[in-house]
Symmetry: C2
Subunit: 226 residues, 2 copies
């Protein structure tokens, strides 16, 4: 029997790759996405397309209130998304405690499913400014998780899998292409327009573009002209 896994799926390039990797490893993948006050719904549409294209065992979208706390350019429209590629300290696109909340939900879901692992596409290379994308955070979360739950106390525990954590974007794309991912299904831009075109200038677009260029792979993203 394949072991069950919870896969955090955002609709972006990284988490689609994580899902492909977990599927290829033989896991029965149960995907979890969040509606958390993102500025646009295109991410969740992308998550649905990706889960379907990869035949996930299930896909659940949990609605959570984290956006209501404010404090991030990704959920608070009074803060501007930076487009100048500047990179000093923790970016304003950081959402307070986001990965902690996401992983906590995944932990509850994993416990009910009796899943042995939670897979998340954090990356410490491109997102070095996000405290909750670092390996030491992931290890601390896993230690906490195994004290928090029945599975940890009575059973085999839960592992937090971060297959992308040390990979440059180009390498993520190369491995994903080898697994047959259609990256045209995914969305990275922090500020898509109404027609689903990426801005091409926010940090997330810049990193994605550079990754495809470096991987020497055609970038299927629809960018705004200019």
């Amino acid at each position: 029997m394949s072991e069950r896994a919870v896969v955090l799926l955002s609709g972006g390039l990284d988490s689609a790759t994580v899902l492909a990797m977990a599927t290829a490893a033989g896991h029965e993948c149960h995907c979890l996405s969040f509606q958390y006050g993102q500025r646009h719904g295109a991410e969740l549409d992308a998550a649905r397309r990706v889960a379907k294209a990869m035949d996930a065992a299930s896909h659940r979208i949990a609605t959570i209130d984290i956006g209501a706390f404010g404090g991030s350019a990704l959920t608070d429209s009074s803060i501007e998304v930076p487009t100048d590629g500047a990179d000093h300290g923790i970016p304003v696109t950081y959402v307070p405690a986001r990965n902690t909340v996401f992983l906590s939900y995944a932990l509850g879901f994993a416990e009910v499913l009796e899943a042995g692992s939670i897979h998340i596409g954090v990356n410490a290379v491109d997102y070095s400014g996000y405290p909750d994308c670092r390996p030491q955070f992931i290890r601390a979360f896993e230690a906490m998780a195994n004290l928090a739950t029945r599975a940890g106390v009575e059973g085999k525990g839960v592992k937090i899998e971060t297959p992308l954590i040390d990979l440059p974007k180009a390498e993520i794309i190369r491995q994903g292409m080898d697994l047959g991912i259609d990256y045209g299904l995914t969305v990275s831009c922090y500020q898509l327009d109404r027609d689903g075109r990426a801005c091409g200038v926010c940090d997330s677009c810049r990193i994605r573009k550079a990754g495809f260029a470096e991987a020497n792979v055609d970038d299927p993203t629809h960018y705004l002209p200019g």
Copy 2:
């Protein structure tokens, strides 16, 4: 200036006591409650009454989807609430990853508020069967939290305060009475009836009743006759 604190407020006896303690310690208290698929709304009504009676600086109720995972008698009406006082292993009233999710939200809220502490009424005496009520869980959460956030990485960090963790119920009640709490505002029962009367037989009612009896204090709870 009084330091800001996030206080997790359920509407029960314990968290009301925690709020009174944090207030007495001079904190500016920002309360956080959750709508998470509880069987009844009386808990949240009680939380509102308590926050108001104690002049909290703010009170936010976050709606979260954790109940949708199922797996607990407190959120899943297909599982019966036990009334026989039996106590073997982890109780069915345990909600998967509940305190982890609650604390994660509180962490996000604390970060936005720049609060230095999160106060939670976990108790390892009466709830020894809940993995996420144990001191080792709380310490692991705090360690994780201080790797997860701006405050942990750039600032003074956040403390998880559990003033009740080692106190027997009678002692909690005694200290709360000294702080002037009206426990008639609080609700503990897992299965209140429509008129707000407590069943008197679920684990939570049993523990509450015994606490008032042992503290030698009048129990203001409205119990069902019988």
